[in-house]
Structure formats: structure tokens, C-alpha cells
């Protein structure tokens, strides 16, 4: 299958989720304005960081009077999981270093997870989902700044759709004992760490713990 049709596959795969980046993007825009960040800073952040949880955390901290340092630390911890995700897809990006640097910015949980669906990470799917989400995320942020909230994403249960998506993508992996063990271990570690570690740490720790389990 050629690259263009894989890209289209990616966009199609991302479409059912399209409401989410749009609505949450608008919610971020509203929060950013409330936090005194200003519209331009908010849009630039959505365009360059392109990571919902980190952006919400940073804006919330600024909103509640926390300093820049606290906001930066929280956001960086939350985005730490992109390092192992990035390493996992290291070889699928074509072209020059500059092109790879730019296109790798399209890595987000959803594009990464959907790209891995077939077993081998698919560049077209990652970029297709990534571009779609990026446009909706930045566009949503702009709408939030200008118009305010579109609607409350939680009122229509969008926040429940994400764990459902990741669960659906997880299930096919669970056919091998190794993968099942890794998933259970990661889930247990995550549960244990959420109450005691800063946001972002549980996911990274749980993912990395599986490295130890590989000593065989």
C-alpha cells in the first residue's frame, strides 16, 4: 500500500476521535485566557507542545498562582513518556534530520497508539492521525480563545473515550504471556504510583519497569 493511502488511513482512523482535540483544545484556550497567558501564548503552546495533559497542567498551575518553574516541571514530567514513545518509532521517519525533527512532533498518545495497531509502527498512520489532531487542537485552542467553550467535553463523556480507546488498542497485544505480564505489571505500578508521585511519573515508571522484566 502506498504512502498516500496509509496517510489517508491515518486520517480516517483519527476521525472518530475528532471531537476530542477540538473540544479539549477549546477548553485549553479558555483555561489559558483565565490563567492570564494571553491568546497568542496559548496558540503557540498548542502548536509547539501539542500535548493536552502537559498544557492543562501548566495552565492550571499558572492559574492558581504557581510560578513558571512549577509549571515547566509539571509539563516536562507529563511529557516524559514521549521519550520511550519516540524511541519506539525512531526508524519509521524518512528524510533529513530536520524533516524528522518536525514530523516527530506529531507524536501524541493517540497517533502513536493507532500507528502501532498493526504490530509494526506505521509512519503514514502516525502522520495522518497526527496532522488531523494537530489541526483540530490548534484550531480548537483558537476557537476557545475567541468564542469561549464550545461545550463541556466531560458533559458528553469525551474523557471516558480515551481510556476506552487505549483499552481497545491494548487488547490485541494480550495474546502473548509476555505482553500480558507487561501490561499487568505496568497497570499495577501505575495504580500504586498515582497517589504518591507527581503526574507523569507513574506512566514513565510503569513503562520502564517492563525493561527490567526483560532480563531473560
Amino acid at each position: 500500500m502506498d504512502q498516500e493511502s496509509r496517510f489517508r488511513d491515518g486520517v480516517v482512523a483519527g476521525l472518530p476521535l475528532a471531537l476530542a482535540p477540538l473540544a479539549f483544545g477549546a477548553a485549553f484556550g479558555v483555561l489559558a485566557i483565565d490563567a492570564g497567558m494571553g491568546g497568542l501564548a496559548a496558540v503557540v503552546m498548542s502548536a509547539t507542545t501539542f500535548a493536552g495533559s502537559a498544557q492543562f497542567a501548566a495552565a492550571s498551575i499558572l492559574d492558581s498562582g504557581g510560578g513558571a518553574a512549577a509549571a515547566v516541571v509539571a509539563a516536562v514530567l507529563l511529557n516524559a513518556r514521549y521519550v520511550p514513545q519516540s524511541l519506539a518509532v525512531a526508524s519509521i521517519f524518512p528524510g533529513s534530520k530536520r524533516r524528522r525533527l518536525v514530523e516527530s512532533q506529531l507524536i501524541v498518545d493517540e497517533s502513536w497508539a493507532l500507528a502501532g495497531r498493526s504490530g509494526r509502527f506505521d509512519y503514514g498512520v502516525l502522520v495522518g492521525v497526527g496532522v488531523l489532531f494537530w489541526l483540530l487542537w490548534v484550531g480548537g485552542t483558537a476557537i476557545g480563545i475567541v468564542v469561549g467553550d464550545l461545550f463541556d467535553p466531560e458533559a458528553i463523556g469525551l474523557d471516558a473515550a480515551f481510556p476506552a480507546l487505549f483499552l481497545a488498542l491494548l487488547v490485541p497485544y494480550l495474546r502473548t504471556r509476555r505482553a500480558l505480564g507487561a501490561a499487568l505489571l505496568a497497570a499495577a505500578i501505575t495504580l500504586a504510583l498515582i497517589p504518591v508521585a507527581p503526574a507523569g511519573i507513574p506512566i514513565v515508571a510503569a513503562s520502564l519497569a517492563c525493561l527490567l522484566g526483560l532480563r531473560r
Partner: protein, 101 residues
Amino acid sequence: MSAAWIVVLAVGAVTVLFKGAGPVFLGRRVLPPRALALVEVLAPAMLAALVVTQAVGGDEAIVLDERLAGVAAAGVALLLRAPLVVVMVSAAATAALLRLL
């Protein structure tokens, strides 16, 4: 420079590095077999961690709310071999309905 812009630029720079780390620094280099095995286990681990975080994660606390009910509905849909869209809509609809009550 305002605190907001410091945050935007600092977080942006670090995130660009994080996301670009693999493709830029490793690039097309073929991973050794052990690293490949690692990557195979990473996906289920990462996904499981994401499920837990997004289903019950709160502000440094476990929060059991309508999201969990949505995930349960998704689980049922998955058992019934529903397509992905149906699975997600089941989760969203369940959470939304419970919040209406």
C-alpha cells in the same frame, strides 16, 4: 518576559527534544535484538499505563468516577467484539448519561 511565555518556550523546547529524540538521534539505525524485544513490550505496558491513568487518575489521587463506568462499558463492547468506534461511543455515552443523572 512573562511567566506564561517562559513556560511556553521552555516546555515547547523540551517537548520538541523529547518527541524528536528517537527519530533524530537514532534515525534509521537498526535496533539490536534486545532493543527490539523491548519495544515489543513497551506498547502493551504504555497502553496499560495510559488506560489506568486516564480511567482513574486524578490530582495525585485515584479518582473513581463516571470514566470508570465508561471503561467498563467499553470492556463489554470489546467482549462483544464491537468495532472501535462503538467501543468509544459506549464509553462516552455511559459517562455522559451517568453525569446527567
